[in-house]
Symmetry: C2
Subunit: 337 residues, 2 copies
DNA sequence: GGTTAGCACTCGACATGCCTAAGTGCTAAC
DNA sequence: GTTAGCACTTAGGCATGTCGAGTGCTAACC
């Protein structure tokens, strides 16, 4: 029994099953692939693969389907990343280049990626720890409520309403704004937290409380903007692949809606040597995704922000990985300097 | 055959069917409701109701289920809005009062509403045609790219990157900003479009092109912020009520994802005398929602922005309508002055 | 030792036939 | 206008039988 052929059999099983959605048997295998041996031999190989936990039979007399472990081996050792077709590349390029806004870019990206892969696409907002403070604005909404706006030179705008804890007038707010902006304009967002105490300390005693509240607000904005939001598209694709989620797509939708879950998942995934991270079935920390796989990769500076897709474990990994990687590259280029 | 009893029969059918999800027959009807007549009489009434297109039989020997038209009559004439339970009221109040940010308020609102009704909840961002221009900021990102930020006194911030069509320096941008802000600060957003040409006309000839582009950008922001975004929660509820969407929930998810569709739908719905708008099944202009109903109402000033839910036509309308109305009221109160 | 042919066995998928329960529509009597 | 009774329709459950795909095992083969 030769090792290489066993891997070849696994590859064939994965490919056929992904293609047909039906358990694949030994006979069909020798017919569709020219393996050079008889079905009986394949049966022996399959029994070995089953012993190793790489494939499993849904019931006694059915073909085999890959397990999570089988997919993992397939992704890690067997599959080659398929290059995208020329039209696909062109579509990515033209579509993404038409965008102006950051929101617009990300929106187009997820739509594109979901269409390309027929899965749910997600993209995380880019981090901006490297960005500089471009502008700070305080807007008095009510005597004690101030809208704090932080504009970074990267083009990102963050805002939040905070309670300053004391009544303020328009002039005071304007003065505070000038003070903060003068001291902090041009500061790196990542250094904002260290620079803030000095500004607060320098304010007149009467405004100290408000200044403190405002500083906290700004710090929160700089912080939260790091890994806050994500955009999503193509949830309807989940419904189409209804059959692939035996129980229901409910838990999957819940996971997608709980952005915290998805963001943690994305950030915890480690990219492999080819620059793409894959998390398969029960490898996912979240139970609702036990029958789903996530394919993701980083983009932008440090590849810190993530873009990826989510679909059933039974997916075409090589093609999907290629699409995710290609989109991430174009995205990096567009957002790059 | 008495008219009042016929309506009573329809009411009973709707209530039983919503409760049991099974076609309801004449015999079960007289047992569960004390109608004071025999099943044969009910059968005659049901035949009449079927002739009028208010109910229908899935197959020859099954009970009847309400048609869209039947639900419509039920909602319009028969049902009484159920008041919420005291705990529910308290939950709404405490949950919504803990919020600070506008984003936060809307986010909590949809989550709450989706839990309350077990449906998908949507809420549209409040309009700000009445709001005033609080601040305008131009940030030079690249020689020809400027980030335009419009801050309204309502606390809403809109942003967009535009191509100004000519190379600009930092000083020029600062000058333009001062010019625009000076001329437009305090203007109503709804009057912005009228006020802009004068500002453009007053700029030096060398900056005219950029000023024009910036004006267009600002106009777009004031415009788009009207009915731009919406927030959504509870899509997982769709999966739970799988059975109620015979074909698939795919088209429904598509509609929800195409925010334009939902926003138009919401804004086109007319509220009835009780202040709630209901759109049932095929009444919806969008084909994908042929088996869904939308219950919505306005909130905030002029009730211009909408909040509501989407679910299967087979839903508990009275309770749902009560929940939507209650949440809208609390929302108005929180966002009010 | 690895490979192959052959065979008994298992089990899901499908078709058939039968029966029951639910519900209807109609008619004739009240 | 209401009711009782009855013939009729049909979905769904259940038992049964058949078919085909696929497996595991054994014995023979290279």
């Amino acid at each position: 029994m030769s090792e290489p052929r066993k891997l070849e059999v696994l590859r064939a099983i994965v490919e056929d099953y992904v293609h047909s959605r039906e358990p694949v048997g030994s006979k069909a295998l020798v017919e569709r692939h020219h393996l050079g041996v008889s079905s009986a031999t394949i049966r022996n190989d399959m029994a070995a693969l089953e012993d190793e936990g790489l494939i499993t039979a849904p019931h006694t007399s059915a073909g085999r389907i890959p397990t999570d472990k089988g997919y993992r081996l397939f992704v890690d050792q067997i599959s080659a990343v398929k290059p995208l077709s020329a039209p696909e590349r062109r579509a990515i390029q033209t579509l993404l280049e038409g965008a102006d806004d950051l929101d617009d870019v990300l929106d187009r990206t997820v739509r594109l990626l979901s269409q390309l892969t027929n899965q749910v696409a997600v993209v995380q907002y880019p981090h901006l720890s490297r960005a500089l403070v471009r502008h700070i604005e305080f807007v008095l909404l009510a005597p004690r409520k101030v809208l704090v706006v932080l504009i970074a030179n990267s083009g990102k705008v963050e805002q939040r309403v905070i309670d300053v804890g004391q009544d303020l007038g328009d002039e005071t707010v304007a003065a505070l704004r000038t003070r903060f902006l003068g001291a902090l304009g041009g500061t790196r967002l990542s250094h904002l937290a260290q620079a803030l105490p000095a500004v607060v300390a320098a304010t007149p005693h009467a405004q100290r409380q408000a200044a403190h509240a405002l500083a906290l607000g700004l710090e929160g904005l700089a912080q939260s903007s790091r890994e806050d939001r994500m955009v999503m598209a193509g949830t309807a694709n989940l419904a189409r692949s209804n059959v692939d989620f035996p129980l229901s797509i409910g838990p999957v939708l819940e996971a997608l809606e709980e952005q915290v879950v998805m963001l943690r998942l994305l950030s915890e995934m480690a990219q492999d040597h080819r620059g793409v991270a894959v998390s398969i079935g029960r490898e996912n920390p979240y139970d609702g995704l036990a029958e789903a796989s996530v394919v993701a990769t980083g983009y932008g500076p440090d590849s810190a922000a993530k873009v990826g897709i989510l679909g059933p474990t039974r997916m075409d990994y090589p093609t999907t990985m290629a699409a995710v990687r290609a989109v991430a590259r174009y995205l990096s280029r567009i957002l790059g300097p």
